[in-house]
Amino acid sequence: MTATEIRPTTAAALETKAPPKPRNMGQIIRWLLLFLGGIAMVMPIAYMISTSLKWPHEVYNVNLIPDEPTLENYLYVLEDGRFYKWFINSIIIATLTTISNLLFDSLVGYTLCKFKFPGRQIVFIAILSTLMIPTEMLVIPWYLMSQSFGWLDSYWGIMFPGLMTAFGTFLMKQFFESVPDDFIEAARIDGLNELQIWWTVAMPLVKPALAALAIFVFLGNWTAFLWPLIVTNSVEMYTIPVGLSGFGDEADVAWELIMTGAAISTIPTLVVFLIFQRFIIRGVVMAGLKG
């Protein structure tokens, strides 16, 4: 850069107009890795869309552009009444579970963070330790529980294991740590009760965390497969992933229909993401200004 200063202005101007040249090997490698990463992310989505536009006989061709693109699969899936039902099921389940997580995870996280009571640390560790137990291990106890309570094949049965999560509680507790105690004490002096303080003072201050949690929980439940598959029996209770996996018959999986259903079912996740992402970005900006 120092060199540019002594050159005639024209040369300097010329140089700035030239496309930016990669400085060194390191930068080239970085770009290459990012590019490969990008491809790895985009390819499955591209194939999903491509497959959803293919006729059944072309499904096993690896070409990305279908020879004879068709919307037939979309018409089929959308005309198939079952898909609507599954879609509604998934929406209801993912939405209710998300709301429940936002409320209860933050309530517990807030309590663990802002109230000093004996045994607090033990409760927190107990909650955290459940993170170490994989879903696969829990499925059988959940099933037995659902069976004895008569929750099999119901919304409640599908939702109950996820209504509160250890991860969400942990996340919210950590975020409430960043809310200064002064806010809470000021509210106490202003005459709010503890529940009002949580709702009107603490919750608005952790909106970015709530948005992130909402995205996590919604996506997690939208794509959940194992437990919904086990707990549901009737086709009307299926969620999208469970329903889609059953497209086709035993001999022949109808990939083009599955991919079509999958493509349609990404739309709500995009909507959720677009809605809540705004809060996350705004949250970051707000936090920056406060400092």
Binding site: A186, I189, D190
Partner: protein, 351 residues
Amino acid sequence: MANLTLRNLTKSYGSTQVLHGINLEVGDGEFVVFVGPSGCGKSTTLRMIAGLEEVTSGEVLIGDRVVNNLEPKERDIAMVFQNYAIYPHMSVKKNIAFGLRSSSLSKPDKEKRIQEVAEILSMVPLLDRKPNALSGGQRQRVAIGRAMVRDPAVFLFDEPLSNLDAQLRTQMRLEIKKLHQRVGNTIVFVTHDQVEAMTMADRIVIMKDGHIQQVGTPAEVYHMPENAFVAQFIGAPSMNMLSGTLTVDGVALDAGTRFQTSQTSGTPQDVMVGVRPDDLTLEAGNPVVSGIVTVREPLGHETLIYVDTPSGEIIAKASGKTPPEVGAHVTLSADLENLHVFDAETGLALR
């Protein structure tokens, strides 16, 4: 409005006691400032008055009520915090209105009250702003507004100015004092800045290690400190301390000087003689100590000189225009009435 009484107030966290029997009477409408070094228990005392911290033993009375077991909201107090604690997701107006949530005023009356407070604090044009669009001073004004709006019996301030820059601090200091003269509520104000304490207080409470050292008007604590700690804490630069012995004839400094004092002691007693830099002059008078000037700090209208003496480093004030040169040998004198004699062991003033 009400008076505030603390009776034998103590506070312990587990086995560590941080407050040791605080006794204080604050009159109705009085402006009392708690001052002391970091960790001496000022905030803890304030928070116990507010009801944010449990009282270990003793009593807090607001008006004639013992409020030990009342919730903060039932105590008729308002508090302003060091980092403002105004809610960032609410407009200025909402923040101020928040203080009125539990009040029984009608809606139009509340509006009127908010407007009134905004006018007193000259914040009317800012009412619709969010806190992050305000300067530090403006934020603190919002916090004061939220406290004022309820017209509480007692205002509590915990170092409300320490996040502001020096100039703004001076300005807000004046504003709070004017505000007090105007609204007349009882105020308890915590600071660790002795200048703030001196300039604002009707009475100053000086604390150290959970004990009250002295309670008095700014003039009393400045001119008649009850012990060496208070003497050195109040006033900047700090009071100089010279060790010596008190006998029937008066004081003999270790440095050699002798002078007659009103205090005497039959048996020789180790003492500390305190003298403020302001009271030490280069003019002839009662010589106290002499030495070599090592450093000069010009402050404009005067110059601080650091003098290396047999009694250690002594700070004195000299003229701003013609201070002695570094290296000069000077003799510092003081009026006898400006010398404070303290017991070397207990630190208590001998009068």
